[in-house]
């Protein structure tokens, strides 16, 4: 179980306990598997299934991490990230990690320009994704000021 060892190691080295994560994902099945594994790792998982719902949730609550799929309804992932930078009432979403089936260089660069700290392409390993989320969390703690 090398992946699990990596995850456990990253957890131990991270001072945040029970990080709050907003998962913006349309696919119920993938969310079910992902949230189960995240909760087992101690995350407090909230879900939004489209861009508008994601922004509404972020207006009401502060998160440590935002995990967002690019291909979502109403507003796509890029638009949500743009709104996060522009809307005053949206609270700091913490570190943003993008998951996407699109591997275009332009998409990846756009996501990083909009402030994401990691870009994960589908298909992915959930254990590796969780390890990356822990790394993203550390990145935000080092620079808590919101960009944009």
């Amino acid at each position: 179980m090398p992946y699990l060892r990596t995850v456990i190691f990253t957890m131990d080295s991270n001072p945040v306990s029970n990080p709050r994560i907003l998962v913006v994902l349309e696919d119920d099945s993938l969310f079910a598997i992902l949230s189960y594994k995240l909760e087992r790792q101690g995350f407090q998982v909230s879900r939004a299934s489209d861009g508008i719902e994601a922004l509404e949730r972020m207006e009401r609550q502060r998160f440590d991490l935002l995990l967002i799929d690019i291909l979502i309804q109403k507003l796509d992932g890029f638009q949500v990230m743009r709104e996060i930078q522009q809307r005053e009432q949206v609270q700091d979403p913490g570190a943003m990690v993008v998951i996407s089936a699109r591997e275009d260089e332009d998409d990846i660069l756009s996501a990083f320009r909009l402030g994401c700290v990691d870009y994960v392409t589908i298909p992915f390993s959930i254990n590796v994704l969780i390890a990356r989320l822990y790394n993203a969390l550390k990145h935000v703690q080092r620079s808590p000021v919101r960009s944009g």
């Binding site: 099945s29 993938l30 079910a32 949230s35 189960y36 594994k37 298909p123 390993s125 959930i126 590796v128």
Partner: protein, 378 residues
């Protein structure tokens, strides 16, 4: 008598319509009921899948939970396999193995409905297991093009050496596939495709049409590892092979190809000269300028036009040559230079300052310039 017959006929039609109506209603009710059941069952199974993939329950427990809902489990496993890799994928494949899902898909490759065969070929690609390669290779001879394409794509996804043979088999029958779809297959194959493409281009026994498609593929994929084969193809006795190879090399943008471009810009065949001077324009180098200048007086309109466009693409030096050619004693050179400079709307300097090739601007010419002397048809 007739009235009685009409009455029976009307009654028969009425009964038939009523029966048909009842069948449709029953079918809809059954479908809706099945959908509700499937949705409920999916909701029940999702947390079980989550526990199984987190190693909280054993595969035996998972199989017990699935029970008779194998179709639904198959759909869910395939959905997850599209999105997950790593240890989750291994667990899903172990489950698929226990449910004998691979055998189900292989069996469906032979059913009469081509849509089911197509779905089965796609499923085998998602499972990505080498055991299915012989069956997929067999499906490359399916009577439906869609199934053949999906089977080839799945073989590419599996990425075995047999996938190379599959590609050769398709390339050998170019009527089977559109080139654009072949590009998709070859992209899926990645490095696996290089060897069969090389084999096809080097082997004189393959049909010309197949070779031409293979050359286009190498260009579309910008596969620099096959540049040596393309360079060799530039010496082919078949003009079409040379022209397609020139196009393919232009897409790869290899500076090592410039000597070949220069040589072919003076080839006796106007089609080859036209393509060679066009290829020189893609390289943006001064080495080609003297030949491009001479090509402005070529007997073929297409060679002249391509040469003028290539000069415009060469930035300041090319622009200067075009401006000088406006005063040339040769009608052809003068006309085509004027035409190219007008086409760039007199903004050559501004354009050069921006560092953009002129050839990318403006529309294609709508007609041929005036001809004051006979020229080679182009």
């Amino acid at each position: 008598m007739i009235a009685e017959a009409v009455q029976y006929l009307v009654a028969g039609i009425f009964l038939n319509s009523a029966l048909l109506f009842l069948i449709i209603v029953a079918q809809r009710l059954l479908t809706a009921s099945h959908q509700r059941w499937a949705s409920r069952r999916r909701t029940e199974l999702l947390p079980v899948f989550a526990r199984y993939m987190s190693a909280d329950i054993s595969i035996e427990d998972m199989l017990t939970e699935i029970g008779t809902s194998v179709d639904l489990a198959e759909e869910m496993i395939l959905g997850f396999l599209r999105q997950l890799r790593g240890s989750e994928r291994s667990k899903l494949l172990a489950l698929a193995h226990r449910l004998r899902l691979l055998e189900r898909s292989i069996g469906r490759l032979n059913v009469w409905d081509w849509r089911n065969r197509d779905i089965a070929a796609m499923q085998l690609g998602i499972y990505g297991l080498r055991e299915s390669v012989p069956e997929l290779a067999h499906s490359l001879r399916d009577k439906r093009m869609e199934v053949r394409f999906t089977a080839a794509r799945s073989m590419g996804m599996i990425g075995t050496p047999e996938a190379g043979s599959a590609l050769l088999s398709i390339l050998n029958r170019p009527e089977l596939m559109e080139t654009t779809r072949l590009v998709e297959i070859v992209q899926k194959m990645g490095g696996q495709a290089i060897q069969p493409l090389r084999q096809m281009l080097e082997d004189p026994d393959y049909p010309l049409e197949s070779k031409l498609i293979a050359i286009d593929l190498v260009g579309d994929l910008q596969e620099y590892r096959l540049l040596d084969v393309l360079h060799a193809s530039l010496r082919s006795p078949e003009p079409e092979v040379v022209i397609r190879s020139l196009k393919a090399i232009s897409k790869i943008s290899s500076p090592g190809s410039i000597p070949d471009f220069l040589r072919l810009a003076e080839d006796p065949a106007w089609e080859i000269r036209a393509q060679a001077v066009k290829a020189l324009g893609t390289m943006h180098v001064d080495e080609g300028l003297p030949i491009l200048r001479r090509a402005l007086s070529d007997p073929s309109y297409w060679v002249r036009r391509n040469a003028a466009q290539s000069l415009a693409a060469c930035g300041y030096s090319g622009g200067e040559i075009l401006r000088e050619a406006r005063l040339d004693s040769d009608d052809f050179a003068r006309d085509v230079a004027n035409y190219q400079l007008q086409r760039s709307n007199g903004s050559l300097s501004r354009h050069e300052a921006a560092g953009l090739p002129l050839a990318e601007r403006g529309a294609e010419p709508t007609g041929l310039p005036d001809r004051s002397r006979p020229e080679v048809e182009g």
